[in-house]
Structure formats: C-alpha cells, structure tokens
Amino acid sequence: MKLRAVAAAGLLLALVAPTALLARQSILFNGSLEFGPGPISEDPHVPAGWVRFGPTVERSDEANLVPSGEGHALKAFSSDPQVGAYQDVPVLPGDYVYISASLYTRSTDKLSGDAQAWIILEFYKANNQQAGFYPVAVLNASSPADTWIFASVGPIAAPAQTAYARMTCVWTWNGSAGGSAYWDDCRLTVNGGPNELLNGDFETAGLSEQSPFGIDDWIGFNDQEQSDDFAKDGIYSVKLGTTSAYSGLFQNMTVLNAGDHVYLKAWAWIPSSDPLTENSRAGIKLEFSPNGVVPPPEENLAFNANQPKNTWVQVALNTTVPPGITVARVVCIFGGNPQTTGEVHFDAAWAERGSQPGVNQLLNASFETGPGGANGITNWTEFGSDTATTRKSCFAVPAYQGVCTAKSTGPSFTGIYQEVAVTPGETLFIRAYLYTPSSNPLTGTGAAGVKVEWRYGNVPENIDIGGATNTIYASSPKNTWIPLYIDYTMPSGSNAIGRFVNIIEKGLATSGRVYFDACEAVILNKFNGADADADDDEDLLDFAQFQRAYSGSGGPQRWNGIVFDSDGDNDVDMVDFNYFAPRMTGP
C-alpha cells in the first residue's frame, strides 16, 4: 500500500511539476520545520509573571520608561471592554500596601473615545473573595501623548482576613474607543519594603502553550505547534487545529519581482483519528505584502447619530497621495458597535484626482448597477460580517442620485470599497452623501463616512486556498502525505514580498487537525546554478544540502530537492550534479 501511495504521489508530481528551467534559488528556510524550541517556548509578547485577561494585551517594545528595564512595557488596546494583566502578592491583614506605575499613550495611537487606562489595588481573602478595591484612572483621551505619567495607590492597610494583594493594569471602554496604553515600572511594596512584583518592568518574556515562535524562521498564529506526531521529513511537522477561525504558520520570504517563477510545495497529512470535518479546509497560500511601509489610512467619520434625519449630508476627505503609492482604495464605511442601531445610506460617491480635475474615478458611483445581496453592487467590494452588511437598496429611501443607495447596518464595521489608480504627490478628493431615515435612524455611538486606504499597486493578489492544487478538504485522503503546490509567475510590473502560509480554515467544524511538513519555495528562473540558502551564491553550504537531497535517477524527489532539480525531472541525480558542480562560486 505504501509503495502504491508513493508511486501515485510520484505520478502526480510528474504531472504537475514545473517545466525544466535551469536556474533555481530556494527562498524558504527551515522548510522541514525541524529547528525551533517547540510549542512551550518563550514568546516575546508574553510578559513573564503576569496573568493576562482579554485578547489584546501584550509585552511590547513600542514604548519604554527609561531607565526602567531595557525596552519593554505592557501594552493593552481596544477589543473587549476590559483588557489587562495582574499579579498577586501574599500579604497579611494590616500590612500597608502601595502600588505605583507609569503610564503612557502614543501620539500615533492615542487613547480616544471613552477609553481609560487604570492601575488597581485589590485585596483578596484566602477563598478568593474580594476584600478591597482601589482603582485609579490614570489616562483617558484627554491625557497628553508621548509622556509617561506616574500614578500610585496607597499605602492602604490590608483589611481583615486578607491573604493576598493584587495589582492590575487595565484598559477599559464602554462603547466607542480606540488607541493603546502602556504600563511600565510597576511596583507593589508591603510596609515600605522592596518591590514584590516579578517582572514589573516587563523586560522578561514568558512562555506560551503554543508559542508563535516555536519553529525557527516561522511565525505561528492561533492553534499551531511543532509536533512529532507525524513527519514527512525529519522528525517534526507543524500541527494545526480548529480552535480559531484560522490557524497556521507563515514565513516572509524575499522580494519577488515581475517575471519571477515561484514554485511552492508542501505535504499535508490528515489523521484519521481527528480528521477535517464539515466545510473546514486547509492548504498552502502565497501572500504578498508591499515592499515598503504602507502609510496609514485616512478617514472622515463625521456622520453620526446627531445628524439630521431624512437629509442627505456630504462627508468629504481631501488628501495628498503619499510617496510610492499608486492605488487608493476608496471606502464608504460604517462603524457600528453593539450600542448602535439604525441604518445609513450612501450615495453619489466621488473620487477626484488632482491630475484629472472634474472627473469622478469611481465606477457605478450611485450604486445603480448590480444584482444586490451579498457583494452585489457592481464595481464595489463589500466587507463586514454576517450581521454587519452594506447592500444595494433601491426605492427604500429617496436616493441622492438615481433610485438606489448602498445601505449599511449592523453592530460592527462594514462598508464597500473600490480601488482607483493614483499618482504619488497628487491630491485626491473623496466625498459621499450619507442619509439616515427617521424610520430607522442611526443611534448610539456608531459613525459613518469615507475613508481612503493606500496600496502599492504593484502588489499582486494573494493566491488563497481553494485552488485545485493547494487545498485539502474533509473528503481528502487520511493518514497519507498529500502533496500541495502553487505554481505562480509574478505579473508584469509587480514587486512585493512573498509569504509562505500553511493554514487551516475552521469553517463550521468543531474538531479536526492537519499536519504540514517538507515545505519548499523556489524561484525557478533566478540564479545561474542552485542557491539553496538564498544568499546569492553556490557554495559548500549549498552542496551540503545537495548531498542530502540527492535521490539518484528516478527519485523520488526528497525534501529540498526542487532547487537542485536542474532538468525538472523530479529527482536530484548526476545530471543535476554535473550542472551544479561547475557553477560553484564559493561563498
């Protein structure tokens, strides 16, 4: 059976392998996933010694109180109503407890809305019943940015029956908020003694059960870990699970240019003991990101519950296209939240380039064309969720132009966007008319308006899972290694950083696992020879890999063999060696 599986896999590869091209450069490191400290390893985003609550709290090097520590602080930002971290210290009744910290918010991500950052001293009895609660709100939207602000509580005598004191750093909000806060130099002293907190300066990283940094050269997200359950090459693979909507492992590779012929390959294993179920799927992706830093988006969310009802209100944005940007994504956006009800209509959208005055760059600008329903407005792309949508609406309200509008509603962000070509340095004027009907008016703290997101126009679309060669499903074979591949050539004019992603999409499944191993990514038409370690030479270290990948004529091809398979016949043999040998450049 094993021989048959191997033969079948070999036949499949023979059918799908790229055509012969002589020059190859590998651009993926640790593709066999062998190297790394494993699942329970240090995570630089986890502060050792602290208990975190909420999803958006982490150890961060974005701010630091000098001279405390070397460069880290605790960061919390918008998500749940309360996010933060705490630490407990044993105390006795009557002990005088004092806490202090310095807090900070950055001008580039300043606290806004009703966000607040606190330090809290609490006392607890041995049965974990609270015996005292002393909060101090230190930062809010009015606090100065880029300034460390000291705050303290106490000394306060521990109440009767107190067993331990707790210092908590917490970020709170009650509806509409943004920005982040930082804590550093946290102290808790008892009766004027030394600081009893561990890692009060957040300089020590902690461990995480599924560290995103457990496999060298890769970054994991959500339910993933290095595993020795199964391996295609070596003894380790990466195990992905379904505790989150998406889980996986990715590696940013190199800059890919127009004409680069990229071949990505990995092997996937579905265990029969915990197979993929429902509509879950997994596979490999090729993602692209700009070869540069994308400027932050700009927006004007001026339309809120205070606007007049049954009246079209213009919301506009005037800006200049940043350097290097060649695509602007024009967005009609509705920022709902759980406290928001009602609907907002968009109409007569307009995007005018400074180089073409008086010309609207948007197509179907009054939303008249399209079948309606999900993503049903021609030339526009909808975003949102199952409950927050932006859909075509005709005759429901008197349109500003024509008879149709784009109607947004829901408890979270939604909207539609369209991309237009722009030139760096020119002005860009964006506007839309917004309307909320008295029959279902916008209420609460939600807001709407227009937004522009910048894109480097030379970044190709991602190659997502779902393709015939790079995806496995619940119906795919179990307990066998399944080859997956992406064969892609960078389009004319493109320039972007490539990212190799192993991913599982949960869908409706509540269980299921997938293992990935023996990943390879090779540029098939770059470099005169075989550069296996992407350092633009062919030397003894490349030969060390060649020697391990050598299969002999007829294969089967081993992991890391693609880069050496100069004649594209799915093996690494003497033909490939005699091609490799005279091209050794040395380091």
Binding site: D539, L540, L541, F543, A544, Q547, R548, Y550, G552, D573, M574, F577, N578, A581, P582, M584, T585, G586, P587
Partner: protein, 292 residues
C-alpha cells in the same frame, strides 16, 4: 587504494540498506599556543579536528566550518588560508577534484583550505572543508572519486586542516573560534554505482575555541628582562618594590608579573621579598620560569 577498496566493500556488505539516526560531529580547534602567552610576531599554529559519534552513522560525509576571530580581540587581521599540505591523505576525498569543495582563490586549486571573507584587514576564513562524492558515480569536473571512505572521525579525532598566522603586535588576549559549521554523516554506504545515503549531523562546537595571550613571557624572578634569573635582578627588584612606576619605565619590555614571586597574583607586594631571596639562592636560572 586496495586497502581502501577492501574496507569499503566490507562496510558496503555489512551496512548497505541500513538507515541510521543522525549522528553528532564534534569539532575542535587546537593549538600549542592555547592558553599560553606568546610574544608578538611569533607563529601561532592551529589545527581543526573532527570526531564523529559511532553506532548511529558510518562516518563523516561532509564538513564545513568558518574560522573566525573575535571582534573584541585587541587587534584584527586577515586570517590566512590553511596549509594545503596539512590535509591528511584520508581527507583527499573531501577535496577537489576527488571530492567537492569550494573553488580555490588567489591561485589555490581548492577552497578546502578556506576562503577569506569580510572587511579588509579583519577577514575570516570561510567554509573550510568539503564533502565526499556519495553518489556512486564520478563527477565530470569535481567529485571524480565515487568510492566513499567510511568511518572517518569515528576512530579518534581526525585532523581536517592545519594552518598558522603571526601573533599580532598588540598585546592582550585573543580568541578564535569555529562557527557556522555544517556536517553530513553517512547513514548507509553503497557500492558504486549505488549511492550512499547521508543525513545532517548535530554539530558540537563546544571545543572549538582557541584563546591565547600576546605579551611578554612570564619569567618569575627576571626583574631586568635579560632572560635569566640572576643576581643582576636584585637591584631591579628593589626598584620594583619601592617605585613601581620607575621600574616600568626602566624595564618597559619586562612583564610586571615577573615580580610576583609567590604567584599569588598580588604584585608588587612585600610578601614577594622572602620568596625572591630564596629564588636568588637558586641562581642563575634560565627563563622561562612560570608559576607552578
């Protein structure tokens, strides 16, 4: 060649087809100067040796390592390539043309002896070593010897390469180490045209550090720096004890440690006077006279 062929056939008969776990390759960087004080301008010889674990592989298939100087060394220089004549005969299968190594530079036929890379004036020696042709067929340009030598490094430390450089003129402690080492070991040995299997080995570099000091040699009791211990050192010892600065200016090439007669690392100190008197009873005495 006959012995080699016979041993190969025996190994091939006994081992072919087995798949063994990856082994461990230990590299050492040794030198007669290790831990010593050497005078400026003297020659420092070095040797790289490899030891391969047994029972989990059939010996070394490829070795590559860099010889680098610590950036904190008192002076930096271009490390010259190793001595091609030092390559043992048994390692010839790792060196081009029989084996596979980097191309040579500056007239050298092979890069097995390392190639210089880095900033001019502080270049290190990169990718020393090479690999055997394990493919069962002869290469057309390099790797011309398809007969695999098994067991290399498994019967004791195997020299890979030796070399030397001139100790810098700047005094102080110097450290050199092997880095970026990669090793493959044989996991099966095939008879040509059958190939041999290899696997990446774990590399142990804990013994791959060389440290020595450049400076005046310590000669306990030689207070005037004339290379002998004699009554001529008495006056200098007196100056050493009562006016150390004057002694240093009078005998600039003389190691102050020479006055630490009782070797307690405290000097100048009156506690050395009696031991010095005893030492004078044993004169004349030639240098070196290190601490016991």
């Amino acid at each position: 060649m006959l012995v080699r062929l016979v041993s190969f056939v025996i190994v091939g008969l006994t081992c072919s087809g087995l798949a063994l776990a990856t082994g461990t390759v230990s590299l050492t960087l040794t030198s007669p100067s290790a831990g010593q004080t050497v005078p400026p301008g003297s020659t420092v010889n070095w040797t790289i040796q490899v030891t391969v674990s047994t029972g989990d592989n059939y010996g070394l298939a490829l070795i590559a390592c860099d010889l680098v100087q610590d950036l904190n060394n008192p002076a930096l220089f271009d490390i010259p390539p190793g001595d091609a004549a030092s390559i043992p005969a048994i390692m010839s299968g790792f060196n081009r043309p029989a084996g596979i190594s980097n191309p040579g530079e500056n007239g050298a036929p092979s890069g097995y002896i390392g190639v210089q890379r880095g900033t001019a004036g502080q270049k290190n020696l990169i990718q020393i070593g090479g690999g055997q042709n394990t493919f069962g067929q002869a290469g057309s340009v390099i790797g011309t010897d398809p007969i695999v030598e098994s067991g290399i490094g498994q019967s004791g430390p195997q020299a890979i390469l030796s070399g030397s450089f001139v100790a810098p003129s700047v005094e102080g402690t110097y450290t050199f180490r092997l880095e970026n080492a990669v090793a493959n070991v044989l996991t099966s040995v095939g008879t040509p045209p059958q190939m041999s299997q290899v696997s990446q080995a774990t590399v142990d570099l804990s013994g791959a550090v060389l440290t020595f000091t450049v400076g005046q040699e310590v000669c306990i009791g030689d207070m005037n720096g004339d290379g002998t211990i004699s009554f001529g050192d008495i006056n200098a010892f007196v100056v050493y004890q009562v006016n150390f600065a004057a002694w240093q200016s009078t005998y600039p090439g003389c190691n102050p440690k020479n006055g630490d007669i009782n070797c307690d690392d405290v000097y100048p100190a009156f506690s050395d006077i009696n031991p010095f008197a005893l030492l004078m009873q044993q004169t004349p005495k030639p240098c070196p006279n290190p601490c016991p």
